[in-house]
Symmetry: C2
Subunit: 142 residues, 2 copies
DNA sequence: TATTGTTATACTCTATAACTATA
DNA sequence: TATAGTTATAGAGTATAACAATA
């Protein structure tokens, strides 16, 4: 009984393991920017080229909107994000990433975009094959 | 200038995106067991077949050991984990997963092991190719 | 002296419920 | 009436520092 698992499930579980092994790196990179993990997560979910409503951020973070108020308060206090009025509904507040916020985002992407060692050790051919598979998987999903 | 990114980096970033899209599922599965995400994370890091010291858990979770005290208090209160004396050092406390704890772990693995939609939609051939690549990546890394 | 785990403290995250101001 | 965001509250997560027991 070797290989009872479907290849889809085993692939997913291997990715899961690989990803989990990188959690400490995420925490450490956020700490380098003096941001808590939730704060960094929120900043990375924002769109630097288009302000988004508070409620949308709460949805993508999967947490209550009362929660986002505090996280955004602190990001705004750090000057990384701004609350702006929305065009046609005076209830909603749009979140815009500031220049400093964009800079933090860029540094984070550079640091966290560095592949995990397991991926780094792949041959160029394997890495291209993996990239193409993932492009296909994510492409078909939208 | 299309494709300036090395295939390793792009593959890693695609995996990152795929994984992030599954965070809500993790939170929801933990909530089904009435556990907070950190509690579920801690329980899943333990080894059901071999008790581990508190300090080791703190290391794998990447947090301070003072933190683990509280998380383990609550897991122990739920009867999912036990603190036991260590053999040769009376300072250390070993964490053992109880029968109930093992059951929660199994349910979690079943639920979270279900592949993300993007993976599920891959053909069998693609899924096997992906699995083999990841086996190779993770295998070489140890 | 050094190490393991706990306690004390302060701040952050989180959900629920009640509230304000819009719609 | 319903919705977007805030505030109030209570419990949990987090790091730092000080501590007790043990090595």
């Amino acid at each position: 009984m070797e290989d009872m698992t479907r290849p889809h499930a085993e692939a997913w579980q291997l990715m899961h393991r690989l990803f989990m092994s990188q959690r400490r790196r995420f925490v450490s990179i956020a700490a380098d920017e003096q941001l808590s993990p939730p704060q960094m997560g929120a900043l990375m979910q924002l769109d630097p080229s288009r302000p988004v409503p508070m409620g949308d951020l709460a949805d993508t973070l999967g947490c209550d909107s009362s929660n986002v108020t505090g996280i955004v308060d602190r990001l705004e206090g750090r000057g990384l994000v701004e609350r702006r009025a929305a065009e046609h509904d005076r209830r909603v507040k749009m979140l815009a990433v500031t220049g400093d916020g964009v800079a933090v985002r860029e540094r984070f992407k550079t640091a966290m975009g560095e592949p995990a060692p397991a991926i780094e050790h792949l041959s160029d051919a394997d890495a291209r094959a993996l990239r193409d598979l993932l492009r296909r998987a994510l492409g078909e999903d939208r």
